[in-house]
């Protein structure tokens, strides 16, 4: 028997759309000593509660009504880092859907219970999960403070201490290697598991490690195999689609995503992706259907975005349904309470829609509104939205604004190949392929040269010179993560070599925070975060 766990001080959140079940759960938790129970009937209510206070245990039903499910809820919590790694998340599910729950490879709940279950079963599951979390606590602490290298090293020691969780530690090691971009090592870790048993999560990890090493054909084969053997592993379809796209097979990518969407229509990021791929493939009907699901289901979600309306409106306009598209933009403005971001996005799309319908005057007016928003409140809009703005500018003859926005966009994202392709497609659609290509290449080249110059300086031993250049560039191009992170890298190397410097270290930290905020999964970030920790430790500073 495992050592007894004290439930009295645990804060438990119960999420279930059924009032009877919520109350029954509260009563049954009471029988083993839980006194701090909190109830939520909807995912949004639960998210609000979690943002305000933290919970030790979250018990969520899979069915939440209104087009939401417990898996989406969990994904939102994890993606937005609303719960700690130590928080216990247990999914409660009917037998009918339990395959879906156990098939969530990447963002699996800590455990699940299938209805009907007994109070004793619930107690035992919670107790074991809490004990297991305690064994992982040291690694979780390291991960949460960004010390991923240390976390990876700690796994081996803890594994020896807790042989019972060996498989779980190996799984975590694989995840960490992938996050640290140590793909060859990840490949090794997963291969080791696969030698004993072909478990789907290990095959997935193996496939990802191959994919990230650009071994697309091999990865494609693995993902095909996972999909064939475990058709419920929906994440495998996403990666299969990535692999298909990487080898240039857009139709197969769309088919893979469509298959997954059919099984789980509520997973909005995947619907979004299906819409994107279908639109690129010229299949406007499929794109419209996918985007429309995102807009409809997203209404209930805390994490909806104006972009979803823009995508749908764009496709409607491409199909010639201008009035429908315009009224959707009106809805977008209302849905987001006329926020600057939503208003700007809607204005951009309205300009494009009016132009397409032959109404030049209204197109001009809408574009003027969008540019006014940009100037007045500078709302953060996505890169895709910026390209829509560029499109609107050129269509309504605002050359200068278009040139400056697109150059700025490319200078800040010169490494984002997908975005550059998208930008090229935008110019192609405008019938200005060569003009666009030129503009894009020049903007990118400017940054590449700057970066190369800095790197050359560093290689020639002029680390200080390199730092000056990169810090200037980082100030000018705050959104270019390559520049910002290279600046951080150079600073850290400099400090490591030449000794502690409070100001430089503060700048390095600021750059890394920028990266952590903007793109937590940037391939260089984990490495640099780890390096920052090492340097800080070396000079005896604690963050």
């Amino acid at each position: 028997m495992a050592e007894a766990i004290e439930f009295k001080n645990k804060r438990v959140l119960i999420l279930d759309d059924d009032l009877g079940m919520r109350n029954t759960m509260r009563l049954i938790l009471g029988t083993f000593g839980v006194t701090n129970t909190y109830l939520a009937a909807t995912a949004n209510e639960a998210v609000r509660r979690i943002q305000q206070e933290s919970y030790d245990i979250i018990l969520s039903d899979y069915f939440l009504g209104a087009g939401r499910d417990g898996q989406q809820f969990l994904e939102e919590l994890r993606h937005n880092k609303l719960i700690k790694l130590s928080t216990v998340f247990v999914m409660i599910t009917a037998e009918r859907v339990y395959e879906k729950v156990v098939s969530a490879v990447e963002l699996a709940p800590d455990d699940y219970l299938i209805k009907p279950f007994s109070g004793e079963q619930l107690r035992a599951r919670l107790e074991r999960t809490l004990i297991k979390k305690a064994a992982f606590a040291p690694v979780y602490a390291l991960i949460e403070s960004g010390e991923l290298r240390e976390a990876l090293r700690a796994c081996d020691g803890l594994m020896a201490e807790h042989p019972k969780y060996a498989i779980d530690f190996i799984r975590l090691k694989g995840d960490l290697c992938l996050t640290l971009c140590d793909y060859a090592e990840a490949e090794k870790v997963y291969r080791q598991v696969l030698e004993t048993r072909a478990v789907p999560w290990a095959r997935m990890g193996f496939g990802k490690a191959l994919f990230m090493q650009d071994k697309f054909e091999q990865a494609e084969e693995i993902f095909l195999d996972v999909v064939e053997v475990s058709s419920q592993y929906l994440e495998a379809y996403d990666w299969l689609a990535n692999a298909h796209e990487a080898v240039g097979n857009g139709a197969a990518a769309q088919a893979a995503l469509a298959a997954a969407v059919e099984k789980a229509p509520n997973t909005l990021p995947r619907q979004r992706k299906l819409g994107d791929v279908a639109r690129r493939n010229g299949d406007l009907d499929t794109a419209e259907k996918a985007y429309s699901t995102v807009v409809q289901n997203g209404k209930y979600s805390y994490f909806r975005r104006p972009d979803d309306y823009a995508d749908l409106g764009g496709v409607m306009a491409e199909k010639g349904n201008f009035n429908e598209a315009l009224s959707l933009m009106g809805e977008a403005r209302r849905q987001f309470n006329h926020s600057p971001e939503a208003s700007m996005c809607a204005a951009v799309m309205e300009s494009i829609i009016h132009k397409k319908s032959g109404n030049d005057e209204d197109a001009q007016a809408a574009l003027a509104e969008a540019l006014q928003w940009q100037e007045d409140s500078k709302p953060e809009i996505s890169n895709a939205m910026k390209l829509n703005l560029v499109n609107a500018c050129y269509q309504s003859g605002r050359e200068d604004a278009g040139n400056s926005i697109v150059s700025d966009l490319i200078r800040n994202n010169h490494e984002d190949k997908a975005l550059m392709q998208q930008a090229e497609r935008t110019f192609e659609a405008l019938g200005r392929r060569d003009f666009g290509k030129n503009l894009i290449e020049n903007s990118a080249m400017e940054i590449i040269q700057l970066n190369n110059q800095a790197v050359r300086k560093a290689q020639q031993g002029d680390l200080a010179g390199a730092i000056t250049m990169l810090r200037d560039a980082a100030t000018r191009l705050p959104d270019n993560l390559q520049i910002v992170l290279n600046a951080a890298h150079a600073l850290l190397v400099f400090i490591d070599k030449n000794g502690w410097d409070q100001d430089l270290m503060a700048d390095a930290k600021r750059y890394l925070e920028k990266g952590n905020a903007k793109d937590p999964s940037h391939p260089k970030l984990a490495k640099l975060n780890a390096m920052y920790q090492d340097v800080a430790k070396k000079y005896g500073s604690t963050r």
């Binding site: 037998e95 299938i114 209805k115 009907p116 004793e120 035992a124 475990s230």
Partner: protein
């Protein structure tokens, strides 16, 4: 209105309703469990009656699960979701379940001599074992034993009792009577366990169920063999 071919639709409709009934049972189980915990301190006699009611509830659920299994197996939905679990925990859970449902006259023992982890579908395995356990709870005289061990490259999970054992007809393995009125056995329980066991595959091996009489306690022995 046009005539519809009823068979497939009907099966799906029934399956859907069984799921709903299972959800309701879920609430009932928890409510009964809570009532039984409360009764233990306030009214021990009632607690005993609640224990019997809880076992009946479990058996209702077992039956529903068996019917669903036939539906799933026929429509090709039946698959095992393997992951690594600790067999000792499975035995622990079963012992707890047995103790919470056993009358005063029964003593329950559990033993695990298996490796620290094994790949299996926890839900299927627990469902098959609890079904066997619910039977033992009805037929055992004084003792039930639950155990896990490794043998011949298989994980063997067993439920044994000191009751009268399986009827000869069942042991012979031939055609099971679809319904033998008196005991209410439909043979579906064994069908479920066999389907669940067989869904566990490892390379060229598949899981299976062994039923026999004798064992360490002299009564029924139900074993699940998982590769």
């Amino acid at each position: 209105m046009t005539d519809q071919p009823p068979s497939v639709e009907l099966a799906a409709l029934l399956a859907g309703n069984i799921h709903e009934v299972k959800n309701l049972l879920g609430q009932l189980f928890l409510a009964l469990d809570e009532a039984s915990v409360t009764a233990q301190t306030e009214c021990p006699k009632l607690a005993q009656r609640l224990t019997a009611m809880r076992l009946t509830g479990r058996r209702v659920h077992d039956r529903l699960l068996h019917i669903l299994t036939v539906y799933k197996a026929e429509s090709g939905f039946f698959a095992a979701n393997l992951d690594a679990y600790d067999p000792a925990e499975t035995i622990e859970d079963l012992v707890q379940e047995a103790r919470s449902l056993a009358g005063m006259h029964l003593s329950i023992a559990g033993q695990s001599l298996s490796p620290a982890s094994w790949y299996f579908d926890r839900y299927l395995v627990e469902s098959a074992l609890t079904n066997a356990l619910h039977n033992s709870l009805r037929y055992a005289a004084t003792r039930i034993s639950l155990s896990a061990r490794a043998e011949d490259g298989y994980l063997v999970l067993s439920v044994e009792d000191d009751g009268p054992g399986f009827p000869a007809q069942m042991l012979e393995g031939g055609v099971l009577p679809l319904h033998n009125g008196e005991k209410g056995s439909t043979g579906l329980g064994l069908f479920f366990s066999r389907t669940a066991a067989a869904a566990h595959k490892n390379r060229d091996k598949a899981g299976f169920v062994k039923i026999e009489n004798g064992g360490t306690l002299g009564g029924a022995v139900f074993s699940l063999w998982l590769p």
